[in-house]
């Protein structure tokens, strides 16, 4: 298994929180109304209070829809599977889905992990959160 180190490069570091070898989605929770945000926002999208505190979002959800992407800008390693995941706490997140797309379908249960989502100009792997499906792994 890949180990996260201080040198691991992330596509959008502000979206995630690292805890040992675990990755979490870094969201926000409004201390005034309880609304969740992803990414962490400064102002609550629901009540506009400015008391958002960082929270870790649910690691589990189900696929709303996905597509196998064959055409993408330079650096992206096509084909890759991109999907919208509805997390158990009510937030929808886009992410790459690891596993065999033939075994995925809308509503498939997925869980959070991390993986390489692209390379930079000189081919250095760039990581991000990803979702994996237990069906998709076999």
């Amino acid at each position: 298994m890949t180990t996260l180190t201080a040198n691991t490069r992330f596509a959008a570091p502000h979206l995630v929180e690292l805890d040992g070898d675990q990755i979490w989605l870094r969201g926000g929770k409004c201390r005034s109304c309880g609304e969740l945000s992803f990414p962490l926002s400064s102002i609550c999208w629901h009540c506009r209070a400015e008391v958002m505190e960082p929270v870790r979002l649910s690691r589990n959800g189900k696929l709303y829809a996905f597509s196998v992407v064959h055409a993408a800008p330079k650096g992206w390693r096509v084909p890759y599977v991109l999907g919208y995941v509805d997390l158990d706490d009510g937030i929808r997140v886009i992410g790459q889905i690891e596993g065999d797309p033939k075994k995925l379908h809308p509503d498939t249960a997925v869980r959070l992990d991390f993986g390489v989502i692209r390379g930079d100009a000189d081919g250095t792997p760039i990581y991000s959160y990803v979702f994996v499906s237990d069906q998709g792994e076999g």
Partner: protein
């Protein structure tokens, strides 16, 4: 509020013209529009120009090429709705009584990016994970197929219809018919879309001259009235969203119909934002042309083909005419104006009296789309 008419239109054929500058793409469309309106270009009181990637002060640069300078020029960026949003700005200028004669331009040169999917803002959290515009629409398509039982073969039929129409339009970028098998066996872009499910990228421009009703009567015997000019932006939704119905267009359509005092059955011809096959089906439903879940049956009935009761995208739409993003909205409007004047040529919708144009787009995380602008025209 003053009534507003379109008295001149300009469309240059869309295509790949990497050798032309943005200004050289645009000025012939503007000249065509003021010549069609039979006005002296020096009488134009204000200019509203839409572009996404054309660079700053594009309206000024185009007008300089035409020798018409020193007037108010506003440049408008609103993603795929840029020139339809510019059209609304022009409409507001005349409707408010502020101006009597204004010019609206839309222009884009996408060949400068060298092909492929259009570049998106990588500060957007969704783009940072690999979102592309085809992938976004592809996920809408997959979910719609999952919920309503639409098949890939049925979805491909949208592209066949678009190209049947576009083959008749001399201004279309892809003037070629495709069989169902050709659509389905083309190179995959983002499942379930092959290349023929996606609008081509290219270059192009369009223009329109708007006049107050009083001015229009003095200048022409065939003005087309703008009976609704609507613009809205996406409604942010933090959480689950039904991607099988385009919230921004549903809301915009309701506002546009209300403004015009018309309903879906009154629309004789429409140019809608079919950037990808699924979009055309979603918009039949969003505009109320047919009930939810029945878009394919409506297309399959022939209703939306030339000769049908409510032709949609007789120009070939974005799928066939092409989609130089900033040019699209004004060219849709120009197409509808020519339809209502009976001057659309081989893709004319016989007897069309009321028409609609619809440009929407722009990916922002948490929005259906960033912008949407709808216009309804009447003869």
């Amino acid at each position: 509020m003053e009534k507003v008419c379109v008295i001149g239109t300009g469309i240059v054929p869309f295509g790949k013209m990497p050798e032309k500058s943005v200004v050289d793409l645009a000025w012939p469309a503007v000249k065509q529009a003021y010549e069609e309106a039979a006005i002296d270009p020096l009488d134009i009181e204000a200019v509203f120009c839409g572009t996404v990637f054309g660079g700053n002060l594009i309206g000024q640069r185009i007008m300089k090429a035409l020798g018409v300078t020193g007037l108010p020029v506003v440049n408008v960026e609103n993603a795929c709705s840029s020139s339809s949003a510019a059209l609304r700005q022009g409409w507001m200028a005349v409707a408010s009584g502020c101006n009597d004669l204004v010019l609206v331009i839309g222009v884009e040169k996408l060949t400068k990016f060298g092909g492929g999917t259009i570049p998106l803002d990588d500060e957007d959290c969704e783009v940072s994970q690999g979102l592309t515009m085809p992938a976004l629409y592809a996920m809408r398509a997959q979910r719609y197929m999952h919920e309503f039982g639409l098949t890939e073969r049925q979805l491909a039929q949208v592209a066949v219809k678009a190209h049947d129409h576009g083959a008749l339009n001399p201004n279309a970028q892809l003037r070629k018919r495709f069989t169902l098998d050709e659509v389905m066996s083309a190179r995959m872009v983002a499942s379930p879309f092959t290349l023929v499910h996606c609008c081509p990228t290219g270059d192009g421009a369009g223009a329109a001259i708007l006049a107050s009703a009083k001015k229009a009567r003095a200048l022409t015997s065939s003005p087309v009235r703008i009976v609704a000019s609507e613009l809205t932006s996406g409604k942010f939704m933090n959480g689950f969203r039904d991607m099988t119905t385009p919230e921004i267009t549903v809301r915009g359509a309701r506002q546009a119909y209300e403004m015009a005092g018309l309903g879906p059955k009154d629309i004789d011809v429409a140019e809608v934002h079919d950037a990808f096959t699924i979009a055309e089906l979603l918009y039949y439903e969003a505009f109320g042309f047919c009930p939810r879940g029945e878009a394919f049956a409506y297309l399959d009935s022939g209703a939306t083909s030339l000769g049908g009761k409510q032709p949609v995208n007789p120009s070939g739409g974005l799928l066939s005419r092409g989609h130089p993003v900033g040019a699209t909205g004004i060219v849709q409007a120009a197409e509808i104006v020519r339809q209502l004047n009976g001057r659309a040529g081989a893709h004319q919708v016989e007897g069309a009296k009321i028409g609609l144009s619809h440009a929407t787009g722009g990916g922002v995380a948490g929005f259906d789309h960033g912008a949407c602008s709808i216009h309804i025209f009447a003869k």
